[in-house]
Symmetry: C2
Subunit: 216 residues, 2 copies
DNA sequence: ATCTTTCATGACCACTTGGTCATAACACAA
DNA sequence: TTGTGTTATGACCAAGTGGTCATGAAAGAT
């Protein structure tokens, strides 16, 4: 994570200008992914000259890296907040609340979420392995701690394979969030622009299925 | 789906040359996605001149469209085969077998699967909405028919919301296949290059969890 | 052998990209 | 006013893109 620092010129800029640049860049990367994103578009949107962006960041990769760092910070803050808030509750309430928090985050920071999706699904993004490993670590820590705590409390059916449980949670959470963010994946549940009550209802349904199973 | 036809010149080509071109193109698109894919690379790999590709297909979009059509055909054939083979079995056996068939397909046609993933996760692919709608229809038909049949046979817990069940199946299947195809998403299960026994074991675990639930 | 139709070719075009750099504008000090 | 260090600028570059087209090679038919 070397190139993550902005150049000193950028750090001395008035905050509103910094924000204009970062917002424009995040938007472009979130929309197009790394390679397809155009710095020409970014500078135009931010209202600065082409040369200026290279006074702020060493190059395209540096800018990209910096944005990732920022985004990661935002995610980590909400993750740890939810984790602590729900510490004493049972697994399935915690899962419900986590998913709700996920949806809230995604609606407050849609660009960050799309940015993350591009990293996950575009093989040719610089630092991809590095970045995904970091995200992976956080997710594993989060779900892992929930599940282990639940197991210790006897909330899980005895003998369930922990790996498979983690996979299941990861899969369902990820896809649920993808469905609320990308209309193309929102086939069955109608989450894309749904009001909170609907989303909550869906969350309860899904967690209920995970909890009790499908079989008669 | 207008542009899906190859130009007549292509159709009159010797089959091995056709295949060289299609393989090279599919590989490039599967690897880079639509925009990042380079026709220059395709023609180089196929061993033909730049101009020739425009004698075979009207343009980049036309080539892309044609490949989609081909890929869809391959998917449909295996889908209907599995559906019919398992018609008389109970839901959870059918799900296991479907997932196994999915893994098999993906290993036999890795490029087709990556091609599909690019379409799903790149907002800026031409005809994307059209293509995804088609895929969606097939998946909904497939899972829908399995689930309705199971419900009619009383294999499902009474009162489970059908939408949510479909979502869950879609999410888990999709992610399972993604994990076996993309090492980056294969965090917990170790599927990426696993031998069939391991994969089968994982499949049974996952379907078991879906069937019986997580709760004690 | 000549004509015609089909296929192959690669130089070429306009355009976009990430990145550079000489120059100009600015701000603050002496 | 003169000097000094920092920031802003956009013309410019090499490289790569999708796409075109005049030319030439094959192949078959007469």
């Amino acid at each position: 994570m070397k190139d993550a620092a902005a150049l000193s010129t950028f750090r001395h800029l008035p905050p509103d200008k910094q924000e204009r640049v970062l917002t424009a860049a995040l938007e472009e990367f979130a929309d197009k992914g790394y390679h397809q994103a155009s710095l020409n578009k970014v500078v135009a949107q931010a209202g600065i000259a082409k040369g200026s962006i290279y006074q702020y960041f060493p190059n395209k990769e540096g800018l990209f890296s910096f944005l990732f760092q920022q985004a990661l910070g935002a995610v980590r803050r909400t993750l740890t907040a939810v984790k602590e808030e729900t510490l004493e509750q049972d697994l399935f309430s915690r899962l419900e609340k986590s998913l709700r928090a996920g949806v809230r985050f995604l609606r407050e920071h849609p660009r960050i979420y799309n940015f993350y999706l591009k990293i996950q699904y575009d093989k040719n993004v610089p630092f991809r392995e590095e970045f995904l490993a970091v995200i992976r670590r956080h997710a594993a820590e989060y779900f892992g701690s929930l599940v282990r705590r639940a197991k210790a409390r006897g909330e899980l059916r005895p003998g369930v394979p922990e790996d498979a449980v983690l996979f299941l949670l990861d899969a369902v959470f990820d896809r649920f969030l993808q469905a609320t963010a990308l209309s193309a994946l929102d086939v069955t549940l109608g989450l894309h622009q749904a009001p909170p009550e609907i989303v909550d209802k869906r969350i309860r349904e899904i967690i209920g299925l995970l909890r009790e199973g499908l079989a008669a």
